[in-house]
Subunit: 339 residues, 2 copies
C-alpha cells in the first residue's frame, strides 16, 4: 500500500509555483489567474490530492466538526434529530460527531471533554436524565464554542435551544381523550423534574380544567417511564378505574397497554391510550398507539441552523434564541372510539 500523501507543496513543485498560490487557487481566490487555477486543479486531480483538514483546522482554529450528544441513538426520536442535523450540517461542509451518554452523567462529561479536545466547532446536546449539574456546559461556553440544547433544555443555562411545545402536545393529547369521552384520565409522568415532563403534566392538567374535569392527583403516577415502569404504573392504577391514560413517554404507554390486555380490558373502549413520541413500534402494536409526533427531523434542522448562525455571528454578541416547534397528535386506534 502506498501511503500517498500529496500536499499542496507537491502540486506547487510540479507546477513551479509556491504552495501559497496552490492554496489560493484551490480556494478560488480572486487574485489568482484563471489559467493557474485550472493548472492547479488538473495537477491536484492527477496527483490524487486530498486536502488535509487537520492542518487546515490547526491553522484556522476550526475543525468543521459539530459534536452531537444524545442519550442514545437507538430511538427514532434521537436518530431523526441527528439526521436533521446532518442534513443542514453537511450542506454547510460540516461533519457530525455523535456521542452517546446512555443517560449517564459521567459519560456526558466524558463526551464533552472528548468533543472539546477534538476541537469541535459547536456542540448540540440533549442532556442525560441524570444530569443535574451543568458546569461542564459552562466550560463549553467559556471556550466560546456554540452550544445548543434540544428536547431537554434548561433555562438556567443561557444558551439557545430547540424544543417542542410539550405543553401543547400534552394538551392536545388530553383533549383528544376527553373528546373520546374519557372522564377519568390518568397520567404517567417522570420522577425527575425535567422541564419537558413538567410541561407535559401542565398541559394535561390545563386540558382537564378547561374541559371542566377535575384534576385528581391519585391518577398521576411518576416513574422512569420505561416499559416496566409503565406496567407497574398501570397495575397500580387498575383499581382507580381510569378510562384513559396519557403517558409522557412511548414505552410507558406500551407497558400500560400490555397490562390492560392481560387483564382483559378493551382498548380503546374501556381505556383509551395516548403516548408521547412517535417511535416506530407505536404503529406496530395492536391496537396501534395514538401518540404525539415531535417532528424530530425539524428539531435537528433548527438546531444545526442555530449553530451556523452562531459560528458566523460576532460571537460575543450572540443572543441565545429559543425555538419552539409545534407537535402534532397522531391519532391511531388505541384512542379512537367508534361512535
Amino acid at each position: 500500500m502506498k501511503k500517498e500523501k500529496t500536499t499542496i507543496h507537491d502540486i506547487a513543485r510540479k507546477l513551479n509555483i509556491t504552495a501559497s498560490t496552490v492554496s489560493r487557487a484551490l480556494k478560488d481566490h480572486p487574485r489568482i489567474s484563471v489559467e493557474t487555477k485550472k493548472a492547479v486543479q488538473k495537477a491536484a486531480q492527477k496527483l490524487n490530492y486530498q486536502p488535509n483538514h487537520i492542518a487546515a483546522a490547526l491553522r484556522n482554529g476550526r475543525s468543521n466538526i459539530i459534536g452531537v450528544i444524545v442519550p442514545t441513538a437507538d430511538r427514532s426520536f434521537f436518530s431523526s434529530v441527528i439526521r436533521g442535523i446532518e442534513e443542514v450540517a453537511n450542506s454547510a461542509k460540516y461533519n457530525v460527531m455523535i456521542c452517546q451518554t446512555y443517560d449517564s452523567y459521567e459519560k456526558e462529561i466524558a463526551s464533552i471533554d472528548a468533543l472539546l479536545n477534538a476541537r469541535v466547532d459547536g456542540i448540540i446536546v440533549s442532556y442525560s436524565k441524570s444530569t443535574l449539574n451543568f458546569d461542564h456546559y459552562n466550560r463549553v461556553k467559556e471556550r466560546g464554542i456554540p452550544l445548543i440544547l434540544f428536547d431537554r433544555s434548561n433555562d438556567e443555562l443561557e444558551v439557545s435551544h430547540v424544543v417542542i411545545d410539550d405543553f401543547l402536545g400534552a394538551f392536545k393529547a388530553t383533549e383528544h381523550l376527553i373528546q373520546q369521552g374519557c372522564k377519568r384520565i390518568a397520567h404517567f409522568t417522570n420522577t425527575r423534574k425535567i422541564s419537558i415532563y413538567k410541561e407535559r403534566l401542565r398541559g394535561y392538567r390545563d386540558a382537564l380544567e378547561q374541559h371542566g374535569l377535575t384534576y385528581d392527583e391519585s391518577l398521576i403516577v411518576a416513574s422512569d417511564l420505561q416499559l416496566e415502569d409503565g406496567r407497574r404504573s398501570m397495575t397500580q392504577l387498575l383499581d382507580k378505574k381510569p378510562d384513559g391514560v396519557f403517558s409522557a413517554s412511548a414505552l410507558g404507554i406500551l407497558g400500560a397497554m400490555q397490562v390492560l390486555k392481560e387483564n382483559n380490558y378493551k382498548i380503546p373502549d374501556d381505556v383509551a391510550l395516548v403516548g408521547f413520541s412517535n417511535e416506530a413500534f407505536t404503529s406496530f402494536t395492536e391496537p396501534a398507539l395514538t401518540t404525539v409526533e415531535q417532528h424530530s427531523m425539524r428539531i435537528g434542522n433548527a438546531a444545526a441552523e442555530i449553530f451556523l448562525q452562531e459560528v458566523t455571528a460576532d460571537s460575543e454578541k450572540f443572543i441565545p434564541q429559543k425555538i419552539v416547534l409545534k407537535p402534532e397528535l397522531i391519532i391511531r386506534s388505541s384512542s379512537l372510539r367508534k361512535k
Copy 2:
C-alpha cells in the same frame, strides 16, 4: 467569554522551561524529573490546559478518531454494535465518529470521503444494501488506513471482518420450527444477494434437508424485508398453507404476524414464527417474537479490537482476519407450542 487557549508554551513560560519539556512531562517521559512533572501538572491544572488534539494529530499523522459507517443508528442492532465499538475504542483513547448512510450508495461514498478528510485512523463499516461497487473501499486501503467490515461483508475485499454465523443462526431457527412440529416452513429472504441473506437461506435449507423435509422453492419469498414487504410476502403465501415462517429480518416477521392475525390464524399453533435480529420491538409484540440474537455489542468489541491490532501492527504485514461469532436463538411465544 474568554477564549482561553492555554498551550504548552504558556505552561513552559510560567515555569521557565521549554515546551519540549512540558510536552514530555505531560506524556510521562522517563527522561523528565519527577519534580518537573509535578510542577507541569500543577501548572496545567491551574491554567486549565486542554491539549489540542488537532495539533498533535497533524504532527504525528494520527487523529485518534475511528470512523464508523452504518446504514442507520436507529436500530438496536447497529446502535449496540456502535456501543461495543465505543467501549473498546474509548478505553484506548480513541473517539468514534459515526456516519449514517440510510442505505444509500452515494451517502456511503460521501461518508468515506468525509472520514478520510477528517483523517480518521481507521474505518469500521457495515455497508449499505445498495452498495455494489467497492472502489471507495479500495481508496481507504490504498491510504493504508485499517478498514474493518461487520455484519454485511464481502470476500472480494481483502479486509478483516466480523460477522455472525448467519448459517448457524438460520439453521437453529429452522430446526427449532421443525422441532415444534412444523412441516411446511416458509422463508423470507432479501432480493439483494448479500452474503448474509444467502447464508441464512442456506442455513434454512440445510436444516430442512437434515431433518428429512423437502426444500420447496414456492415457500421462499424474496423482498426488501421491511414491514410492508413482510405483509405482502405473507399475504401471497397464505394459500400455500405454511405452518411456520422463518424471516431473515425482524420487520419481515412482524409483517407476517400482522397479516396472520388479521386473518385469524393462531400463532404459534397454526403458524409458528421466527425472525432475525433481536430488535427491541420483537419482545413487545403479542405473542412475543422468537428471534436470532446476534450479540451485537460483541461484534462491536471485536471490530474495534481488530482495528487496534491493525494500527499497531507493521501495517503492510497485517493479514486480514475474519471473526465469526455464534448467534443465539431466543425462543419466545411466537414459536413455542405447548405440548
